[in-house]
C-alpha cells in the first residue's frame, strides 16, 4: 500500500511457474480460510476447484431448469399452434400427436439448456466485463502462455495485505503484486465511433433505395426479383394444357376418390338397405350394389342411384320392378324416370316387364327400418334446414304437399304435373314405409321427383328422413304427447281457433241463407 497509497486496492496476486506450485499455494490459501480467491492458468487444471475450496457451481441446475422449460415450451407451442390457434390435420394424424412434437420439443430442450449454460455461466461470472484491474500487471499477460497466478480479493473478510504477502511468500513464489485500480484511460478510441458511423451509414443505403422505389413513380416495368414466383408456371383452374389428351389442366378426380371425411364404407348407411338381409334374398343384386359403390364408372355421378324410381300409385303399369334389371339402377332410370335419362349398356335393360302379379322390388327389398344415425336435436335441426332447402318447395314447409311449386302448378293447371305426396299420409308412415325406403326415395327420386344423392350428403339425407318422421308425428299427434305445462295453452288456442272457425261458418251460412238466389 506504500507506493500506491492514493489508489484503491483490489487484491493481491502471486505468480507461479508450475501447476504443482499453484495447487500447493491454492491449498495453503484455502486452509488459511480465504474465500474470495481466484486462480488463473493457461489451461484447465484438474482438481483446482477442490484445491481452492470452490463450492460446486449451481450451473447444472440452471441448465436443467432451462432444459425443462425448453421441453415444456416446445410442446406447448406446437399444441397451441397446431391444434388450437390454427387446427390443421397433417397426414391424418390427431391434432395433438405427441410423436410428431417430440423432435421439436427435444431440439428446444437442447437449445434452452445450451442458452442456460452459456448465459448462466456469464451471469455467474459477472460477465460481460471488459476489463479487470488485474490486467494492469504486465506480467499477468503470461497467464495465457506459461505462468500461473493466484489472486486474493480485497473484499475477503480476512484480507490483510501483510499477512497475505507473507503467506504467498511461503508458497515459493518470487513475484507478489498488489492489484490496484486501472488508471489507464477509459476513453473509447475514436476509430471505434468512426467505424460504427460508417457501418450505420452504409446500412441505411438499401433502406433508402427501397423507400425511393416505393414512394416515387417510374415508367419502367416492374422489376421481378424472382420471376417464376411472380409468374408461376403452374396452371390455374379452367386453363388448357398440352400435357393431357383432353386438353384440360384441371384433372378430374380419380375414380373412387372420396372426399376427406366422407369415407363411408357402411353400405347400409349409403343405400338404406339392410345389406346382410339382401344378401340372403338376392345375393347378385347385393353384389352389384356394392360394386356400383366401390367402382363407379367415370361417366356416372358421384353416387349412383342403387334403386331408381318406382311408380306405385300414379302409374302402376310402369312398374318393371320384379325383373332382375330393377336392381340395375341406371337401367331402371332409363325405363322409368325421364328426369334421369341415363342409358345403360346392360343387356337386361331390354327385358320386358315381368307379370304384374309379382311383388315390386321396392316391397321385397329389406329396407332399414330405423335411422342409422343417433337421433338428437342437432340432427333434427339439420334435417329441418335441408328439408327447408330442398323438399319444402314442393312438399311444403309442413310436409303437407302444398309447396310453392305445387301451388303454381295448380294455378296454371299444368297437365303433366303429379302432385307431391302429403308426407303425413298413412302410406308413408314408418311401419309401412321404412326409413331406408324413404332414404332411397330421397337419394334416387320417385315419379317426377328427382334423386338428391348428388346434392345432399348421405348424412344429411338421413337427417331429412329423421325430420320427416318428426313432421309426420307433428301432424298426427295427440294432445297427450305435449308436455303438461304447455297443454293448457294449446287447448286454449285450439278452442279459440275452433270458435273462430265456427263463427266464420255460421256467418257464411247466414250469408248463404240470406242470398240463396244469387248462388244459383
Amino acid at each position: 500500500m506504500s507506493e500506491n497509497n492514493e489508489k484503491k486496492v483490489h487484491g493481491i496476486v502471486a505468480e507461479y511457474t508450475s501447476v504443482d506450485s499453484l495447487l500447493n499455494a491454492c491449498r495453503r490459501v484455502r486452509d488459511a480460510g480465504y474465500k474470495k480467491t481466484d486462480a488463473f492458468a493457461p489451461f484447465a487444471v484438474h482438481g483446482i476447484d477442490k484445491a481452492l475450496g470452490i463450492k460446486p457451481t449451481v450451473l447444472p441446475w440452471i441448465v436443467f431448469g432451462c432444459g425443462a422449460v425448453g421441453a415444456v415450451v416446445g410442446l406447448a407451442m406446437q399444441i397451441w399452434m397446431n391444434s388450437i390457434d390454427y387446427p390443421y390435420i397433417i397426414s391424418g394424424k390427431p391434432m395433438i400427436s405427441l410423436p410428431a412434437f417430440i423432435p421439436v420439443a427435444y431440439e428446444l430442450t437442447i437449445l434452452f439448456a445450451a442458452f442456460g449454460a452459456f448465459f448462466g455461466m456469464w451471469a455467474l461470472n459477472g460477465l460481460p466485463r471488459f476489463s479487470n484491474p488485474i490486467f494492469t500487471d504486465p506480467r499477468f499477460d503470461r497467464v495465457t502462455d506459461d505462468r500461473f497466478f493466484l489472486y486474493i480479493d480485497s473484499k475477503d473478510e480476512q484480507f490483510d495485505e501483510a499477512g497475505i504477502r507473507q503467506l504467498f511468500g511461503d508458497t515459493g513464489t518470487d513475484y507478489i503484486q498488489t492489484v490496484v485500480d486501472d488508471d489507464s484511460s477509459s476513453k473509447v478510441p475514436k476509430g471505434f465511433f468512426v467505424a460504427w458511423a460508417v457501418v450505420i451509414g452504409l446500412s441505411v443505403i438499401p433502406v433508402l433505395v427501397v423507400l425511393k422505389m416505393r414512394l416515387t413513380n417510374s415508367n419502367l416495368p416492374r422489376f421481378h426479383v424472382f420471376f417464376d414466383m411472380d409468374f408461376s408456371p403452374s396452371k390455374d383452374a379452367q386453363q388448357t394444357t398440352t400435357l393431357f389428351a383432353d386438353g384440360r389442366a384441371m384433372r378430374p378426380d380419380v375414380a373412387g376418390t372420396v372426399a376427406r371425411g366422407d369415407m363411408l364404407i357402411d353400405m347400409d348407411f349409403m343405400t338404406g338397405i339392410d345389406m346382410e338381409a339382401l344378401t340372403q334374398v338376392d345375393a347378385r343384386r347385393a353384389e352389384r350394389l356394392v360394386r356400383s359403390f366401390a367402382e363407379p364408372s367415370p361417366q356416372q355421378a358421384a353416387e349412383q342411384p342403387p334403386v331408381a324410381a318406382e311408380d306405385e300409385k300414379v302409374a302402376p303399369e310402369d312398374d318393371p320392378a320384379a325383373t332382375d334389371a330393377a336392381a340395375t339402377p341406371a337401367a331402371e332410370a332409363a325405363e322409368n324416370n325421364d328426369s334421369q335419362g341415363e342409358g345403360s349398356d346392360e343387356a337386361e335393360t331390354a327385358k320386358p316387364a315381368a307379370p304384374v302379379a309379382e311383388p315390386s322390388v321396392m316391397d321385397t327389398t329389406p329396407w332399414l327400418t330405423e335411422n342409422p344415425l343417433e337421433l338428437n336435436k342437432e340432427l333434427l335441426e339439420r334435417g329441418q334446414t335441408y328439408f327447408g332447402i330442398y323438399c319444402s318447395v314442393c312438399h311444403g314447409l309442413n310436409g303437407g304437399g302444398n309447396g310453392l311449386v305445387n301451388r303454381r302448378a295448380q294455378k296454371i293447371l299444368a297437365t303433366k304435373w303429379i302432385p307431391p305426396s302429403k308426407l303425413n299420409q298413412s302410406t308413408l308412415a314408418q311401419d309401412v314405409y321404412p326409413d331406408g325406403k324413404m332414404f332411397n326415395t330421397i337419394s334416387n327420386g320417385i315419379r317426377k321427383m328427382p334423386g338428391y344423392a348428388a346434392q345432399i350428403t348421405t348424412r344429411d339425407r338421413w337427417a331429412i328422413v329423421a325430420y320427416v318422421r318428426a313432421l309426420q308425428q307433428s301432424q298426427n299427434a295427440s294432445i297427450d304427447e305435449v308436455p303438461a305445462a304447455e297443454q293448457e295453452a294449446i287447448l286454449k288456442q285450439q278452442a279459440e281457433v275452433k270458435k273462430q272457425l265456427e263463427e266464420q261458418a255460421a256467418a257464411e251460412a247466414a250469408q248463404a241463407a240470406a242470398k240463396p238466389t244469387e248462388k244459383e
Binding site: 501447476v19 504443482d20 495447487l23 484447465a44 487444471v45 484438474h46 482438481g47 477442490k50 484445491a51 447444472p60 436443467f64 397426414s91 391424418g92 394424424k93 410423436p99 410428431a100 417430440i102 423432435p103
Partner: protein
Amino acid sequence: MSEHDTPAVKIADDPAFKLPTSLSSLSMPLCIGGVAVLLIGWACGSSVSAKFGMSAYLTAFMFCLTIALGSLFFVLIQHLVRAGWSVVVRRIAELFMVMVIPLGVLFLPVLATLLFGSGTLYNWDDPTYAEKNFLPMAIWTEKLRWLNQGWFTVRAILYFAIWSALAVWYFRRSVEQDETGEKAVSDRMQYWSGPAIMAFCGATSFAAFDWVMSLAPMWFSTMFGVYIFAGSVLAAHCTICITSFTLQRMGALRDEVTAEHYHDLGKFIFGFVFFWSYIAFSQYMLIWYGNIPEETHWIFERQLGAWGWIGIVLILFHWALPFLGTMSRHVRRNAPLITFWAVYLLAMHYVDLYWMIMPEAGSSMGGFMGVVSSLFCVVGMTAVMIGLVLRVADQTKVAAVRDPRLQESLAFENI
C-alpha cells in the same frame, strides 16, 4: 497435478489383480446350476408351447450376447480413441467379450430348432406360413432368398467367426501385454481397432436382423440393428460397473477403480440410456409417421394387451426414470448408487429384449409358466456366462496390469 493421491502402480503379481478365491470357487457351481436352471426354464416354456420355450431361450441368449457384444465394442472403441481412463476396467470388458465363444455353443439349440423344427421358432421356416397369412408370393419368394436355412446358417457362422476372431485376438494381445508390458502391443491393438469396429458393426447389425427382426419375417426396420446395438452397449457399461463394484467388494482392484472411473462409466450409462431412447423413438416415429401397414403391424401387436403395458414400462422405466436418476454427478460418483442403477438397467434391458422377442411367440405372456420360464432361462444363461467369466478371470488378471497407460488411468480425474 491431482487433488487425489494417485495410487501407485502395483506390481503385476499383486493380489489386487487376482480374482478373489471367494469368486473363483463359484465358477463351477454357477456353470452347472446355470445349465440346470436354463433347462428347467426351457422345459417350462415348452409346456406352454414349443415356440414359447425356444423364444424364452432366445431372449435369454440375446441378453447374454448383447452384454458380450457390448463389451467387445467397449474394448474396440477404447483402442480406437486411445482412451486412457478406461485401462483399469478394460480387462473386465475383455473377460465378457470372449464369452461370444461359449455363446456360439449356446446358439446351437436355436440353430438346431431352425434346421429341424420346421418353423418352431422362426415363422419364415414354416412352409405353410405364407399361405396361411395370405402373403403376396412375389415378395415372399424374394424374402426367402435371404431367409432360408442354408444361408441363415452360413451367416450365423460368419457372425460368430468375426466376433470370436476379434475377441480372441484382442484378448490374447492384452494378456500378452500382462507379461511383456510392450507399448507395441497397444499400438497394434489401436492400429486394428478401426477395421475391427467396422466388421463388428456389420456383423452385429445383421445378426440383429437375422435373429430378432426375422421373427416377424414381413416386418423390417433398417434401424433395428442400431436399436439392438444401443441396448447392447448400455448393458455392457452396466456389466462393467457391476463387475468392478463386486470385485472391489471381494477385495480386488480396491485402490485402482476410483470414483472417477465410476463417474465415467456413469456418464456412459446416462448417455446410452438416452441413446437407446433416441434410437427407439426414432424407429417408432418413422413407422408411426409413415403409417404403412407393413411397418406398423409390429408396433401395433406390441400395443395390444399386456405388451402395451410393457411398452409403457419401457418408456417410463428404461428411459425417464434412469435418465433422471443417473443425471447427477453425485449419483455417478457414488459407486453403490451407480451400481444400483446398473443392475436396474440390466433388468430393463431384459424387459426390452422380452418386448421385442416374446410377442412373436404368441399373444399372451404364457401365464405363470411363461413368466417362470422366461426368468429361469435368463437367470440360468446369465449364471453360465458369469461362471465362465470367472473361470477365464481366474486364469488371468482382472486388470491390464502392465498396460503402458495404466498410470494415466489410475491418475485419471474428471474436471
